[in-house]
Symmetry: C2
DNA sequence: TTTGCTGCAAATAGTTTGCAGAGAC
DNA sequence: GTCTCTGCAAACTATTTGCAGCAAA
């Protein structure tokens, strides 16, 4: 896991460099994204900030996440059921293990994915750009 | 790839056995699903059937797909952008290679996924129930 | 004849957008 | 002072649902 503070600095720097204004709302949202404890959803971020920013709008969270995504600094984990999780701590594709009971998301260490991608490219003739690998199951806490 | 005719027979049999009525609409939808040429979407199925069934409703396609899914006979490939593809020819989790230009979906042969799943289970303490693996890229047709 | 299915239209829910005022620079 | 951002509310879109008539068994 990368250092959240460092990620925060990088993202804020990119925002400034690309000519965007640094508002308190953006600082707060980026701070949560850079940490990405538990892979927050837009709703999580919104709920978390409502205390400090009573007028905070969901639209602002959506727009800020979209902005950071356009800078390539957040990985979006969208799910077909409409839920979405974000990870600006490690903004590159990597596998996830998701608990179907409590929604916990874990980043496992894994080997062999690079080889698999190469194998796929050779077999299909595709130029592979990115990938998505999720395992769904029940975490040790929820087994009991 | 399984034999579409065989898959069709199996699904129809399951429908009957579970006490569901066999309507012309269901026959037509299941036929397309069992074939799963190109991994059709609900919209694809609907468009394909509008000629033969001018009164066909999107709701019926949704309901039938949901029904077949509840029998465990179709794999749903939902994407966060709202698109959804179905495969009742191989209704178990398997990797996909998706062209981001033309939307083509291919089922590659792959090795090592079983081992990876076991590795993940041991490392995280999860009981893994299912998984999803997609590679996104540009197919050989679209490279030109 | 009974029960479940279909088609239509309305409802739903997450996300996006238009606009006017507020705030960063 | 300029120009972008925010907050609100309305718009949007894929999917789901209620209901009345229809059709499979």
């Amino acid at each position: 896991m990368a250092d959240p503070q460092e990620r925060f600095d990088i993202i804020l720097k990119k925002l400034k460099e690309s000519g965007h204004k640094i508002t308190p709302q953006r600082i707060a949202i980026v701070k949560i994204l850079a940490d990405s404890q538990g892979h927050p959803s837009v709703e999580n971020i919104y709920e978390h900030l409502k205390n400090d920013f009573p007028t905070m709008s969901l639209a602002t969270v959506y727009r800020t996440v979209l902005l950071v995504k356009s800078l390539g600094e957040v990985l979006e984990l969208g799910f077909p059921d409409g839920s979405n999780r974000y990870d600006a701590n490690r903004p590159y594709p990597h596998p996830h293990v998701i608990c179907v009971k409590c929604g916990k998301v874990i980043d496992p260490d894994i080997s062999g994915l690079k080889d698999m991608q190469k194998e796929i490219a050779e077999e299909t003739g595709f130029e592979i750009l990115t990938h998505r690998l999720d395992f769904f199951g029940i975490c040790s806490d929820c087994k009991n």
